[in-house]
């Protein structure tokens, strides 16, 4: 059965390329949301196997969205991978301390994004 991924990112180019990559190369089902608030609602309904979550978003940012996902019993079990263009080690430590499954970096390679996610989550 195909994996189900929810991508939450306010940048439409990143959102669309990531979705394209996971659908076309990995063969997964993908849903997207353009904000943290929309992503929370979508995660409850869609029950994805994992969430790919942007860090810097206007309104509810990635870390806040992550904490809300963890607080809600309907989404607390869903693995979350942060997606960020921040490469400074202080930022990376701050994000790792949140308790996310992994931090993936922008730019990502559309050819290998699915493999990266699968490796981190131990998916076959």
């Amino acid at each position: 059965m195909a994996r189900r991924i929810l991508i939450i990112d306010d940048e439409d180019d990143i959102r669309e390329v990531a979705a394209l990559s996971l659908e076309t190369v990995a063969g997964w089902e993908v849903e997207t949301a353009s904000s943290g608030a929309l992503g929370l609602a979508r995660a409850i309904e869609y029950q994805p196997d994992a969430v790919l979550l942007d860090v810097m978003m206007p309104g509810m940012d990635g870390p806040t969205t992550f904490r809300e996902l963890r607080k809600n019993p309907a989404t607390s079990h869903i693995p979350v991978l942060l997606l960020t263009a921040k490469v400074q080690s202080s930022d990376q430590r701050r994000f790792a301390d949140l308790g996310v499954e992994a931090i993936l970096f922008k730019p990502f390679d559309p050819l290998t994004l699915g493999t990266q996610i699968a490796d981190v989550l131990g998916w076959e």
Binding site: A2, R3, E11, D12, D13, I14, E16, V17, L20, S21, T24, V25, A26, G27, W28, M56, A85, V87, K106, P107, F108, D109, P110, L111, G114, T115, A118, W123, E124
Partner: protein, 115 residues
């Protein structure tokens, strides 16, 4: 991963679709470079407002995250350098201003060469 898919067919389809997306998002990408060009010129003239600096920092951050995804790794490196310069430089700094003009110009060349 879904092993029933043919990896090569998926990769070819992805490459084609990426080229279509590049065309779709090119106006947005060019607009971000235009923000960097305007900010660099304002910085060199010592009239960069806080709003322009924030907009340039945001545009550089987004370009850094996007360009490499379309295979433009040099673009990501340059945009990241601009992001750091806009975050760290306070007051008038002719050396940084000259570098920011150079980066914006090079980014435009890189982007136009992919078309």
């Amino acid at each position: 991963m879904d092993s029933s898919r043919e990896p090569e067919a998926g990769q070819a389809a992805l490459k084609e679709a990426l080229d279509r997306m590049w065309i779709k998002f090119l106006p947005q990408i060019k607009e971000r470079v235009a923000v960097l060009e305007a900010a660099a010129a304002a910085f060199a003239a010592n009239r960069l407002s806080a709003e322009e600096r924030a907009a340039a920092h945001g545009a550089a951050h987004k370009l850094a995250g996007t360009l490499g995804t379309f295979g433009l790794d040099e673009g990501t490196i340059l945009a990241r350098e601009a992001e750091v310069l806009y975050a760290d430089t306070c007051g008038h700094d002719p050396v940084s201003a000259a570098r920011l003009i150079e980066i914006a110009s090079r980014l435009r060349t890189i982007i136009e060469s992919r078309m």
